[in-house]
Symmetry: D2
Subunit: 337 residues, 4 copies
């Protein structure tokens, strides 16, 4: 940690900072520059000593040197984490495909789409039973009935079920039906939920919040990892920016950045990331080329009649075409679908 | 709702849209323009019919006309909502001040600061007992012990306690100690939590999420209002932008905008909104001048030793000075502190 | 254009809007809804009639229906524009590569790198002679001397020279040396410059401003097109967002969006778009997979000694590797490099 | 400057960094931490040595310590700069008001409004003659005819004329008619224009670009200051964010931040900053309370008929009311209008 003093800070102020650093159990090192003085604090820990220093008189700012996450970092674990559950494998050579409708709507819908995506290369079945909706007046999901239908689809296809959990107290119930607990973007910093999901022992798919930095995203993952559950997948699904021609802005540089900084596998959701059916396939191809370990895509037998998110959902033909195109790109980057 | 067809949409596509509109129980009205055709859907409801139309072939986009929130709107209730609990009144002529430390740290700390802020014009005491922290390695709060100390401070001062609730299952316990349930920015779209807070019957202070639009913010309030609980306060605490000289960007135009569109009172938090002690007072004055109904401010007997957020916290002298300055501005806009 | 009246607007206010619409030479059409009234203005033009209506009493908002750009639009010209100059072709089946150093620094540097990139598949040579630099204390380019060196490199290699123009009065001088005039991101809305560049008759490479919407970007292109110059290339180079792990956020959905809405070719600059050497290659691959018509990349014989932008510049080996990887992805999307 | 080495950087890499630092004429200082090593470079200059270091092998990042601007800084000049020209004074105890229409439209319009704003407390007259417009199909201003009308209004009222310059070659012509050269937000980083404006010797009003950081804003001012022209005013006019209920987001914390870091006076433009007539007055009050040295506001005799920006323009009654309200707030912060 580097404590930058204001130009003109007094010797007393510098001494005070040195004293505080040593009280915190760190070593200090004063560097007198031509225009100002900085004090290095050696032995930095990841626990918020920063703020103990930045409020001292005469301090301009405190610059942390270490990244604040640890268990998610490639510093700590070099080999890539691979998540495997039923027919889903994320983090190995094959690129995982998790596909399905935004919401589970009926037995016919979910069983039909499950078989279809399975035949077309998917390893996971997505489908919302408990739906977080911006408006209280929107369809909120079939709830437990939806979970039963997902479990039935799993039995028929062998697909791993991926469904969202919205509250800590729902975890035990969901755990009976699902293979992966999804934490939605709105809940990325819902810490009691992260801990409850981690403690279930199930693999967790963590979506990036729309205004989360990489550091915040990895620290959210750290909440799950700290429970002892190492089966965490990170999912980029778009951020909130000024752009208005897409629903969110999908920043694919996240993919190589995360591949360099964490051992956790990285999935991209081009459906939420663009919010427009006509842009999903191109961004799915781009995600594969950027090095993603998986794709999460909304597919519905008839998007026009979907109860949610129809505008960003592929129909079966478009999904089949997307897989065909992504498969070619996957081969070009030495991966498989 | 206005359905805008693509230039060159076929008559069959237009007829299909008309048919869909009528299936949804609305009246349709076709307007043939010089370059393209639009279809108005009359009788629009607030329940997501938008997406039933925007996936139809030949449709370019669907433009909603009505705001999707209702109970929060001045269309539905013209007179301003006033929240009153113990010595706190928000939404009337006086400008409410809710002050206190980021976290409850000790009996001495919280009782001392409570007396001090009470003497200096505050009506509410803030203080975190359950702390959502970005890093799992940061101080997480004193939990129930912190609540007991808050309640003791309330007894001694008459201040209303305002503290954050992080999970639906904590609501009953918190309800024993607090006067206002605060929903933090990270949880603005944690819908089970909004509903549980609403059902407690306690006043709710809802913080804006750092990437929430006004529409999303008001729809989050709508989740609380829908439980029948009308005691909702909105709190602007800054948004996530590219600016890096402040922790968040504090967009004060939120204040007059909300005053025009909702009857709910509006509070501003200049501590989180700037993240820098040296900017808090100027922004508190600006918030009052913009028409805010209240201020929420972090104060600590010794910010340098605070266990969280010291860098944005006022010390007692600075707080007293802030109140003195805000009081003058309040009078200039015909309000009181 | 749809004029949305406020709920409770008076008949007089509605009549006034109708009258204004007709004064503007448009037809009006009143639609009385259940909660409010809207007035359609038919025959909408692209010239700012919007604001003549939105200030009228009783009007809530005005929603334009037509996109404001015209000559850039696929509505007006369906076939793709192809720009060809010397060995550069942008918009056809091959994916164009424009490569070179951030700044021209010396004869040896630019001639060496020009030969190298030519041998490795580039059709255009980038290199700044007049450099817009955020700080007045940074290296500002070799100016006319740099142009002479670029022209010499062109002679030796046949590459098309692409260099930035910063002021209208420089256009004639630059036109003697360059094949393509580049308008930098900072100047995307420098209208006198856009017009002067257009009037030169040279192909123009227009970079997206870091906070420009698609509409603003296409309207900037429209300024060039209006001079009669159709040789315009659009370049996505990243936008300003809250993300801090990259220099800018590179939103690749721009590529398919523009391919659907304009006939102009689309280039991606992964060097500025990420600002980090280690992310450039992955994003170049992703850009190709997303459907880009070209790549613009910074390459320097020794990035560590570059006078500008070394941190985002590839060395020759990394460039060769990037081309090899992009070539495979290009084939997977039926393109060539 | 602090060079942070990657964990596990080799001794050779550290030695190489030390050598580079010394080649650059700086002193180096190696600090070996528990997890990684940092190297301080002492004697840091403001000229881009950063990038000479950040591309070296084994370097993780380089953290500058000094702000890159100098002449704009309070480090260099402590006393506040005051700009005085005709009846305009910016930076002293009175809060300056610069008011007028978006565009000069006619003799009657500009003379009428000039007299009106003069009588109501303005010291400067704004009015565009050369208008930068997003669309080439929008009204582009009366050009030189508009300047003549502004000069006539100045003669009749004594107001200082503030008008925008769009190209370096226009500076001499504008200098005949105007008292202050305005650099618009789109041109904040148009460096030839900044230099030409600086060299005119006229006071310069520099608007913040919608995606400019404080550092970029102050470095743009530095381009003007470097010409020897000290008469620079900074104008906050809103930034581009995800917010869609206002045209831009007006971040008033800019005001106290700049007051602490620069001696240049700070003006706020609540018209562009909100883009909505109904929000202008509240934000003008807030700007005054935050400590602004001036306000820049759009006023038009009949906003509904304005040729540009009517939606954010006050009519004369609203302007008079705004001044009355701001005057009271000004007194509450010991200023005058």
């Amino acid at each position: 940690m580097i404590v930058v003093m204001k130009p003109g800070a007094s010797q007393g102020q510098i001494d005070h900072v040195v004293e505080r650093i040593e009280q915190l159990g760190l070593r200090s090192h004063v560097i007198v520059g031509t225009e100002l003085t900085v004090v290095a604090a050696i032995g930095e820990k990841r626990d918020g000593t920063k703020q103990a220093l930045e409020t001292a008189d005469g301090v301009d700012k405190v610059v942390p040197i270490l990244a604040p996450y640890k268990m998610a970092s490639t510093e700590v674990k070099k080999e890539k984490t691979v998540v495997r559950t039923r027919s889903l494998e994320v983090g190995g050579k094959p690129i995982a495909v998790i596909a399905g409708p935004c919401s589970v709507e009926s037995r016919e819908q979910i069983l039909g789409i499950a078989k279809f995506v399975k035949e077309n290369g998917a390893g996971g079945l997505r489908g919302g039973a408990f739906k977080p909706r911006t408006s209280p007046y929107s369809f909120q999901g079939l709830k437990e009935k939806g979970l039963e239908l997902l479990a039935e689809a799993r039995e028929q296809t062998g697909l791993a079920v991926v469904t969202e959990v919205m509250a800590p107290e729902h975890v035990p119930m969901l755990a009976e039906y699902t293979d992966v607990l999804q934490i939605g973007a709105r809940n990325m910093q819902n810490y009691p939920l992260l801990e409850a999901a981690g403690e279930s022992g199930l693999p967790v798919l963590l979506k990036r919040g729309p205004s989360a930095t990489m550091e915040e995203f990895l620290l959210a993952a750290e909440y799950v990892l700290k429970t002892g559950n190492q089966q965490v997948m990170l999912c980029e699904r778009g951020i909130r920016t000024f752009e208005d021609h897409t629903r969110f802005t999908l920043p694919l540089a996240t993919v190589p950045y995360l591949q360099q900084h964490t051992h956790l596998p990285v999935i991209v959701d081009p459906s939420h990331g663009t919010g427009k059916t006509g842009l999903v396939t191109a961004m799915a191809r781009a995600a594969v080329a950027a090095g993603a370990d998986g794709l999460m895509v909304e597919v519905h037998p008839n998007p026009e009649k979907a109860l949610s998110d129809g505008f960003q959902t592929l129909n079966p033909d478009a999904f089949r075409q997307m897989i065909a195109e992504c498969r070619r790109v996957a081969q070009a980057v030495d991966r498989l679908i």
